[in-house]
């Protein structure tokens, strides 16, 4: 955690507190300052007015006293006595002047020894108007106080004493006092700033610590939650997020706990999908492999035995074909149940090292495997196998219909037959095939000398599956020529298997075998997709009228899913019409003519032409020729190779084709004689070693290029 919320929260609050504190301090200081200056101002004014009043009072008292003392001196013109009295005043610094004048305003005395202004009008020396000569009003002008007091004898006013006093000293004193007060206010303000700042800092520190502690406490549940999340992430799946709190964290904890349970649930589902067969809920091939592997390890450690029973249903395909896949699936579920019952009865007698439900798996299709660890002897295994045969031999009732199948069981044993997973499965499979070969509904223990052919077949099937995965197949193209002109007009795509172990494997050695298994479907689709790709990418750009034939296995015709997938491929490549020929054997068509017609129409609609392969060898029915949307017939090579004694058949076939407006191709033309004969017979096109062996795409493209050069 780079920046803890607690830290940020504390810092944020500290900053806010500091700002608020400083604002309060500033406001307080502002008002303090204002209060100080206002009270200083008003204090100074008040003080000034009080002092001034007092000074005036004192001065008036003094003036009056002096005036009353001067009466006789003035009366007698006793200048020296007057001077003596006034001298006292004049010695004071703040006395500006002293004058005694008569009621006419003539100066009688000016306080000096020489009396220089004697006899002058007082208005010459003082700012007095004529009508103010007898005014006794005390006046304050600027910093000066002007006083007047009457000098009387009885009620008769002899003269007026005028004194001027400067108020400067008092004003200066007041200013000094004010500046003292101001200094004190400044000191007080400084004290307040220092004290307040210290106080704010202290409060800030305390607040920050408290907020930090508070937020730590507040955030403690989040830390706890994070810790539990980490534990959960590290694999402690049972970690509970429930904090047993009634607040928001409690709600969050409950929500996380709910999520944890949901995740666990979906994990379980995912793991079931990965390890369980969705149809029967038995372990699938992957889980079987893992379980068998761990069981082998266990057996190695305990020097114990394991038997692997490979169970394959007989005639299950027929149920699928006849009653449909849904019924087949229900049947498989019932098979699984019955086998589980057997296992249950076995486990009651044998002490199993693993849970019973891990011992029975469905590998796919109609193949089941059962593992029997710690069996006592072969007899026990035989008993189990027989029980399996017996129990699966009993009819299955599905949706009111009764279906009968049987099972063949192959048994192999660890460590007697093999000590590893792969070999054990292979051997059990072989043993099962052996059982099937020997007449179905029986079981066989694996033997090292078991029928080589079976092994070969199995190896072939495994090889084809591997070849599909590892792209060992490729297509060879045998050109088809116009018999009249000899021009190359098309080719037939033929599958080739280049096995790293077995070299070039001829199709005849694996196609018939594959056609008995589900592998025919992916193989057919591969051939079609590859042919369409070559056609659209390489061939049609060179010769837009080129026709490419692809064989569709009859076995494939039975799989409705395959028909759809073929149509999907045709749709995908969007080839021009009549450029792709799908060749189908007569036999496969005849088996379900109605369904076949729909499928073929669909393909035709997608732009493919439909040809019958190996025409004349199957159970031909002229009726279907008319019913199906056919474009041509391929005359089987057996007729071509021995035309002499089959010429009537060939003639009939060609005539039939002409009558039905179908084109014909003669297969297996190897000699000029055959060529000319087929031409004579009226066959349109031919193919065979005479013209070209099947070649790789590059050679075909070369031939096409040559033909084009030749033509041009």
């Amino acid at each position: 955690m780079k920046y803890s919320i607690a830290h940020r929260y504390s810092l944020f609050l500290a900053v806010i507190t500091a700002i608020v504190g400083c604002c309060v301090l500033l406001v307080n200081l502002y008002y303090l300052e204002r209060y100080a200056s206002e009270s200083l101002d008003s204090g100074q004014k008040q003080l000034s007015s009080i002092v001034e009043k007092k000074i005036i009072q004192d001065a008036e008292l003094m003036a009056n006293t002096l005036a009353s003392n001067l009466d006789m001196a003035v009366y007698h013109d006793d200048f020296s006595a007057i001077e003596e009295q006034l001298e006292v005043l004049n010695n004071e610094n703040h006395v500006l002047y002293t004058y005694i004048h008569n009621t006419e305003g003539t100066i009688l005395h000016d306080g000096t020894e020489k009396l220089l202004s004697y006899g002058h009008p007082i208005t010459q020396h003082l700012p007095l108007e004529t009508d103010q000569i007898t005014s006794l009003q005390t006046e304050k002008r600027a910093q000066f106080i002007h006083l007047a007091a009457p000098i009387q004898v009885g009620d008769n006013t002899l003269a007026i004493l005028r004194i001027g006093i400067a108020n400067e000293d008092a004003e200066r004193d007041i200013r000094n006092i004010s500046s003292d007060l101001e200094r004190q206010a400044t000191r007080l303000r400084d004290d307040i700033i220092v004290t307040s700042l210290s106080f704010i800092s202290l409060l800030l520190l305390i607040a920050t610590v408290l907020v930090f502690i508070f937020s730590q406490r507040l955030l403690a549940p989040i830390k706890l939650m994070a810790e539990r999340c980490n534990r959960y992430a590290n694999g402690e799946n049972e970690t509970s997020f429930n904090l047993k709190r009634n607040d928001e964290f409690g709600v969050l904890g409950d929500a996380l706990d709910h999520m944890r349970v949901s995740v666990a649930e979906s994990q379980k589902q995912i793991s079931e999908l990965a390890y369980l067969d969705p149809l029967t809920h038995l372990p699938n091939r992957r889980m079987f492999n893992e379980e068998l592997d761990s069981l082998i390890n266990w057996a190695k450690q305990h020097e114990d035995h394991i038997a692997v029973l490979f169970i394959d249903l007989d005639h299950f395909k027929r149920v699928n074909d006849v009653a449909g896949h849904a019924t087949g699936d229900l049947l498989l579920q019932q098979v699984a149940e019955r086998l589980s019952e057997i296992l249950h009865s076995v486990s009651e007698r044998v002490d199993m090292p693993v849970p019973e439900n891990l011992l029975l798996s469905r590998l796919g299709g109609d193949e089941f495997v059962m593992m029997i660890p710690s069996y006592k002897d072969n007899y026990v295994l035989t008993e189990i196998a027989e029980k399996i045969e017996q129990i699966l031999d009993e009819p299955f009732t599905i949706k009111g219909n009764s279906y009968t199948i049987s099972a063949s069981v192959g048994i192999t044993k660890y460590p007697e037959h093999a000590d590893n997973l792969t070999d054990l499965i292979k051997q059990a499979d072989i043993a099962m095939y052996a059982a099937k070969q020997s007449g179905r509904k029986r079981h066989r223990f694996f033997e090292a000398a078991m029928n080589h052919e079976i092994i070969h077949k199995i190896k072939t099937i495994e090889g084809v599956r591997e070849a599909l995965d590892q792209e060992q197949f490729y297509l060879a193209y045998q050109p088809i020529v116009d018999l009249k002109s000899g021009a190359l007009i098309g080719a037939e795509a033929l599958i080739r298997w280049e096995s790293p172990e077995r070299g070039n494997v001829p199709p005849v050695s694996f196609i018939p075998l594959i056609e008995t298994t589900d592998l025919i479907i992916p193989l057919t689709l591969w051939v079609l997709r590859k042919a369409c790709e070559d056609l659209s990418k390489h061939i049609l750009p060179r010769d837009p009228s080129f026709k490419l034939s692809v064989n569709i296995s009859g076995a494939a015709m039975k799989e409705s899913s395959l028909c759809k997938k073929i149509d999907d491929i045709l749709q995908q490549y969007q080839l021009p019409p009549h450029r792709l020929h799908l060749e189908i054997t007569e036999t496969s068509m005849v088996e379900n003519i109605e369904q076949c017609s729909n499928t073929l129409n669909q393909w035709k609609n997608s732009g493919a032409d439909i040809w019958i392969d190996d025409f004349g060898t199957g159970y031909s029915s002229l009726g279907y020729l008319h019913a199906l949307p056919l474009d041509g017939l391929k005359i089987d090579r057996t007729f071509v190779s021995n035309p002499s004694n089959k010429h009537q058949v060939i003639e009939t076939i060609v005539a039939l084709a002409n009558a039905l407006n179908l084109e014909t191709i003669a297969e297996g033309i190897e000699t000029d004689e055959q060529n000319s004969y087929m031409l004579t017979m009226g066959s349109d096109y031919g193919q065979g070693y005479l013209f070209s062996r099947p070649v790789v795409i590059d050679s075909l493209l070369n031939q096409m290029d040559c033909a084009i050069d030749y033509e041009s």
């Binding site: 007698h76 013109d77 006793d78 020296s80 020894e113 020489k114 009396l115 006899g119």
Partner: protein, 303 residues
């Protein structure tokens, strides 16, 4: 019995008086008493005492053991004291001296050069632009004298002007109209007022002695330039030393010799403190006449 008591008392008093008188020469020989009329006793005592003590010391060979100062506020008391023999030596103005000589038989001893003046004269002055140019012009005008005990600024000028034929009328204030055929006079209380009154034309003329007039502190030049002198009197002694008629002649002679022997050079401090005296001299024979004249006029004023 009752009738005899006052007689007995008078007799016994007489006996005591005679006895004391018989002892007097011896008693006065012991203490030399210097006396003066004074309205400022403190100041005057300070001024006289050092001289009294000095003289007593110097005359110890004549049996004098100590010197003493006695001050009197009334001339009559001083006269009585002189007559009683309580006072041996008096220092006074010619005016007071004339009284003491005539009423207490005091004997003039020496002329004292007081306040740096051997003699002085009275000046009568007016404002420079005044129409009064001689003493006869003073008739119908106001003149200010200092006060009624002043010799130079009242007694002497009045005596001289009266001798010249002028008569005087006393007014209390300068604003009083006064008599047209007489010289109207009033008192200015001191020489400062006297000067200012003339200068400010409150009165028409004033009288001061030449000592004050010539002292710039008393009569500053700035004022003096606005004034003019219309009359100067003869010179008169500034002060006199007198002795009691009962003082033994040898002591009187001793004192006379002693004082004459003092000069500003030899006894600066002593003389200065003794009313700023600068020396002593033998009186003229005319002094008697002068004192008599003064005494005569005094009699007229006080009647």
């Amino acid at each position: 019995m009752k009738n005899h008591r006052p007689v007995l008392q008078a007799l016994s008093g007489l006996i005591i008086y005679l006895f004391l008188n018989a002892l007097a020469p011896f008693a006065s020989a012991q203490t030399l008493v210097l006396a003066q009329l004074s309205d400022r006793p403190k100041k005057d005592y300070k001024q006289l005492r050092p001289m009294a003590q000095y003289a007593a010391e110097q005359l110890s060979h004549l049996g004098i053991t100590r010197g003493e100062v006695k001050l009197y506020s009334e001339p009559e008391v001083l006269i009585a004291a002189i007559k009683n023999g309580e006072v041996d030596w008096i220092t006074e103005t010619p005016y007071t001296a004339s009284i003491l000589v005539h009423e207490a038989n005091a004997q003039p001893l020496l002329i004292k050069w007081k306040s740096q003046q051997r003699r002085y004269q009275t000046l009568i002055y007016t404002h420079k632009d005044s129409t009064i140019n001689n003493i006869n012009d003073l008739k119908g005008h106001h003149i200010a004298f200092e006060h009624n005990t002043s010799f130079s600024s009242y007694f002497l000028p009045r005596m001289l002007l009266e001798k010249a034929g002028l008569s005087f009328n006393r007014v209390t204030r300068s604003s009083d109209a006064g008599a047209q055929d007489k010289v109207n006079y009033l008192f200015s209380r001191n020489e400062k007022n006297n000067l200012l009154w003339v200068h400010k034309r409150i009165v028409d003329a004033g009288a001061l002695n030449d000592g004050d007039w010539n002292n710039p502190k008393r009569v500053p030049d700035s004022l003096k330039k606005d004034l003019k002198i219309i009359y100067r009197s003869d010179f008169y002694p500034r002060a006199l030393e007198l002795t009691s008629p009962q003082l033994a002649p040898e002591i009187r002679e001793g004192l006379r010799q002693l004082l004459l022997g003092l000069s500003s050079e030899s006894h600066t401090d002593l003389l200065y403190r003794y009313e700023k005296t600068s020396g002593f001299e033998e009186p003229d024979p005319s002094l008697v006449d002068t004192l008599k004249e003064i005494y005569t006029y005094r009699q007229r004023y006080t009647q």
